[in-house]
Symmetry: C2
Subunit: 689 residues, 2 copies
């Protein structure tokens, strides 16, 4: 009896309970129906549209369709669910149990048949569209809806009387056994098909890519016999680091992760110096394209090795990156991105073969690249938007991905704006006198006593503060080497709160008499954070660099607020590696970000990588972000006169409670005038709680 007939039967009999039928209720979906005695549970589930996974199509091979009987009386359903309402464990199930193991109480729904009324629970791991766990509670769940799926098929052997090709008989099998009507295959699949079919004795597992219109139902891989697992890789290509996550496409689990420095760094630290490299060295783009693709191959090799799988089992990739990384990955000259009008070669999403990018996974693996938002706001920003989902919220949400360029998104479900702001590399520790990258031994936390003006700090790799007696021993092996981005933020914010720095960013030289930590340096002063080797100071120039960076960031956010005609945001998320290390309170003390309730400010970590992973695991998410990106209003800071205004105003540190009401509830802002009105010192005695 076909599924359709069973379904028709079930609905025809809702009123009268036929004696030869039984009621089946599936949990957690609550879907229910009456089916003839003897109907396999999987068949009933299919007829009712209950989501149960299967790769082997009911042949007791894959074990994906496991279910569990709920025993007891269920008044609301008017039924008693008992184990003898199902056929006993069959020889086939026993064989499966012996071979691959079946958890206590689990049954293969393709084998077990209805004998009476039952309630059947479909565990999460048996669902195709299961939810993937995310660490952060505040964001939406990821629903698994893989674009590439496995199908086990039995293909009819060739017949001289009906001489069709092996490929066409595979298509027939997919149509008849899986209802996949319009499959087609890449040449490389065709080249390998004959061998796989014969090796598997006409039983093969194929991976089918269910892409958008043009790449619908594309057979991308064929394995002889039953093949259990396929994988995908989500990669965030940052200017500085590249991070890869290998995911099991059946479970959504991240099974291995790896990261490495972007080897393009040897061509230039930041994006613009890489674009300059191409301008100065024709063909330099080709070198950088090769470098980044090499790095991807290294990373993919690493995650595959870590997971103990063949890289040919990786059948999908999703890559994101800023526009320059995006272009270099695709083999497109990035020079146009180096100057106005910052024209992208292409802004829409791309779906390619891995082989077109020289990326080694399964040769027919499909690679999906998210759309770019604008010439400075890339596929990585699109991934951040997908990860955080501001377009699903009513709140005015400010999301900042802090890097050499800050990519800034602001808005809600009705309107979403984006821009980028040239913060420069100061937040990453560059252009800071004792600056360094965030690495073991770098100072990352700083506190300054407002009475004594004495500092204490913590370094990456140790949980102790520097005033702890055990600190020296604990950090001896780390070798304190400098101060990282989050460290300099805290240092300057604490200096400001302690009155060492005025709201317009000058180190107050008059305090040199109060503490030996403030020392003249030409016409300005420095603050000694750490004596000894190496000596670590905060110089006037360090403060200027941070002021320039934070003013750019703030001005970008403020510009978007102007466009949205709001004066305050409801929620702030800091994304990116830097964003996840930074202390949000200190960031706000410096005026990097607008005022906001501090419990509404959070770090999202590598949200771009998470967005890439969502796109990898859920095909609908790709259409969703493609659509959202077209609706985002792109603001170009370079041509907005207001940006310059905001930038100049934002150079000062916040010193008016009125401007930062929420922050002022947490810290006492030094309500100073600027240094040039001569009363800078007045605020010094105000203490932060």
């Amino acid at each position: 009896m076909s599924v359709e007939a069973v379904l028709a039967n079930a609905s025809a009999n809702t009123e009268e309970e036929a004696a030869d039928e039984a009621l089946i209720v599936f949990t957690p979906s609550g879907k229910r129906g009456r089916f003839p005695i003897g109907t396999p549970v999987l068949q009933a589930a299919r007829a009712l549209g209950v989501d149960i996974d299967s790769v082997c199509g009911g042949r007791a091979i894959c074990g994906r369709c496991q279910v569990q009987l709920s025993e007891g009386s269920f008044a609301k359903h008017g039924l008693t669910s008992r184990s003898d309402h199902l056929t006993p464990v069959s020889a086939t199930e026993q064989r499966y149990d012996e071979k691959r193991g079946l958890k206590q109480g689990r049954r293969l729904s393709c084998q077990v048949k209805l004998l009476g009324d039952v309630v059947i629970d479909v565990p999460a791991d048996s669902q195709v569209h299961k939810q993937v766990v995310r660490k952060r509670a505040e964001v939406r769940a990821i629903e698994l809806d893989p674009v590439t799926r496995l199908y086990y098929v039995e293909v009819v052997e060739p017949d001289m009387h009906a001489p069709t090709g092996d490929l066409e008989r595979l298509y027939t099998a997919l149509r008849e056994q899986w209802n996949i009507a319009d499959a087609y295959a890449d040449l490389r699949t065709i080249q390998r098909l004959q061998k796989a079919l014969r090796e598997g004795d006409w039983k093969v597992t194929v991976a089918v890519y269910h892409g958008a219109i043009r790449s619908r139902n594309r057979v991308v891989a064929v394995w002889p016999r039953f093949h259990d697992r396929i994988y995908g890789v989500a990669i965030d290509i940052g200017s500085t680091t590249i991070a890869a996550h290998l995911c099991d496409l059946a479970t959504g689990d991240v099974i291995a992760s790896a990261g490495l420095m972007n080897p393009q760094i040897r061509f230039g630290e930041d994006l613009m110096s890489r674009v300059s490299y191409v301008m100065m060295n024709p063909g330099g783009d080709v070198e950088m394209t090769a470098a980044v693709r090499d790095a991807l191959n290294t990373l993919i090799g690493q995650v595959a090795a870590e997971a103990g799988i063949e890289r040919t089992n990786i059948v999908e990739g999703v890559f994101v990156g800023n526009p320059v990384m995006h272009h270099l990955l695709l083999g497109i000259d990035p020079i146009e991105l180096g100057g106005a009008p910052f024209a992208l070669a292409t802004s829409t999403s791309q779906t390619l073969w891995a082989s077109e990018l020289d990326v080694r996974m399964h040769p027919d693996a499909r690679v999906y690249i998210l759309p770019c938002i604008a010439g400075h706001v890339g596929a990585d920003a699109a991934a951040v938007v997908l990860s955080e989902g501001p377009y699903l919220q009513d709140e005015n949400w400010l999301i900042v991905d802090v890097g050499t360029n800050a990519e800034i998104v602001l808005g809600n479900r009705h309107r979403l704006l984006a821009c980028s702001s040239p913060t420069g590399p100061a937040f990453e520790g560059a252009q800071i006198s004792s600056g360094q990258r965030a690495a073991p031994g770098a100072i990352e936390r700083v506190r300054i006593d407002p009475s004594t003006l004495e500092p204490r700090y913590k370094v990456i790799g140790s949980d102790l503060w520097s005033d702890d007696p055990a600190f020296s021993d604990a950090t001896a092996s780390l070798g304190i080497s400098g101060i990282c981005g989050s460290g300099i933020i805290e240092a300057i914010a604490e200096m400001f709160l302690a009155g060492i720095v005025t709201s317009d960013g000058m180190i107050d030289g008059s305090l040199a008499s109060a503490t030996s930590r403030i020392q003249p340096n030409g016409r300005t002063f420095t603050y000694l954070l750490r004596a000894g080797e190496p000596e670590i100071r905060v110089t006037q120039n360090d403060i200027r660099q941070i002021q320039l960076a934070k003013a750019a960031l703030y001005a970008g956010a403020r510009l978007l607020m102007d466009h949205l005609e709001i004066d305050a945001v409801d929620r702030i998320t800091l994304a990116g590696a830097f964003g996840s290390h930074i202390d949000v309170k200190h960031a706000m003390v410096l005026g990097m970000i607008p005022d906001c309730p501090l419990n509404k400010v959070s770090s999202a970590g590598n949200a771009a990588g998470t967005g890439a992973r969502i796109a990898l695991l859920n095909g609908k998410a790709r259409r969703e972000i493609e659509d959202v990106v077209t609706r985002i209003e792109k603001i170009e800071t370079a041509i907005e006169p207001k940006f310059q205004e905001h930038f100049v105003s934002a150079m000062a540190f916040p010193h008016k409670t009125a401007l930062y009401p929420h922050l002022a509830q947490v810290v006492t802002l030094p309500e100073q005038k600027t240094s040039d009105d001569g009363s800078a010192r007045q605020g010094r005695r105000r203490r932060h709680r």
Copy 2:
């Protein structure tokens, strides 16, 4: 005013003649309509659906839209067509004329505007869907309907306020300027796009491939500014020779042709020996794939050089070949084709990038490969079917592509059957004692005087018969070297008609007394065709080889006739190089083909190559042959017991007028009994007219 509005206007006003409108009649289509005074002729043509070509979209650049005024009174249209009913030659047209030349009386329809009633002739060379001339009158015309077409567009420059990609603005231009709604591009196109746009100052010409569903409106090439011509190449990959035709996709003209020996010959003369080579030498398929692809690259280089064009202007290819050639070209191991069940890896048509086959033309050129019919009946046979079109006819048409395997098609618009028959290489001169390929110096025509039993012959490269006094001098430089396939057919047919050979194929040794040309050779006899150096004889074994080959061919045709339940065919076409040299009467005398009115038997030349060219020039033809191939009934001779029966019966030469009534009207068949009834000689005195 939009085209739609003009059209709406025209139809709204059919009844009353508005004073500010004029009637325009296009010939040869006869389409007519009324349009406002001042409407450009091209716009009126578009509104009426008149087929006028244009690449530049009405910018007076391409000159494809030329038309001609028909002057005079046209009673049936009720109008007078006068030159002053059109705007005078404009400065723009004058510039075009000076730059590129405009034939007397021709106007650019995009520039000239209606001032009064006119009859406008659209010359064939201004139509997109023009007819392509074929040499043979009996076959249907080829209509030009190229899959890849050129479009000149002006792309909007990038704008920071609306930061879309260059690619997306190109798509917008195609949509707005050409109504191509869903264009998309390959990665390589995207990589080259920025440069082309800037070099052409945002004016580019793109080649768009209007393929079937999945590859609809694919931008495959971009050139800066206006680009006039694109080309396609149709290649027939035979086991022995490969032939290429370079076509102008705008006119359909063949502008260069070239051929070369299939370099795979070094791996084996015939198909089965090449398959054996792979069986004996694992990886041998890779060598042969590389060899055939190299040959294609050489040929494409040759035709491009001959035509004086860049190979990157070749944007499409159509390739055909028998199943083994088809598989080796695609990089598929052909071993399965070497034995039952002769399974094809794929039987349907393929559309690929040229680069997937390592074929060097435009890197994004699309290659179309016709479907295969069965394991022995390939894409070349499908191309023959497309070229000849038996599926459009009511007659029962037998088409034979003679090669090492004969591919045989029989049927009509209602039913079409195909099989292949293992004729072996005898028809190509192999396995014949003095056999050789058809090349200068080979004997290709033979006549034997039935009274004297003296032969005369002609060789390739000379028009003289050997009994002409000038023959020796004329052929001295050729060096007579052997006998080719068509020569041996004629020699044996003439020997049969002269009574030298009995109907069961024995050389009648009793005639050795009558002529010194018949000489004993062990237990059999030979016939001396040519004395001297080299001596050329027809041996008993030569006759046996030809008997085996012709019996296989006939048995295949007869088997299809059985399936179709007919005893005679209405029409016969011999395709292939051999088929075009053979004399159809002699072929029928030998019983290679069934009886048929001799004026209904013809040679089609390289019909496979013609079919490939049709598929290159007409997209609908591809869908047509794909559909026809699915409807062809495939007969496998290897498993049909009747094939063996027919084969055995067909070993004899036709000696019953009843069996060959049409042939018997042209020649007197020796109504012999077979040699073993001892009365073979009786027929000898019967003469052919």
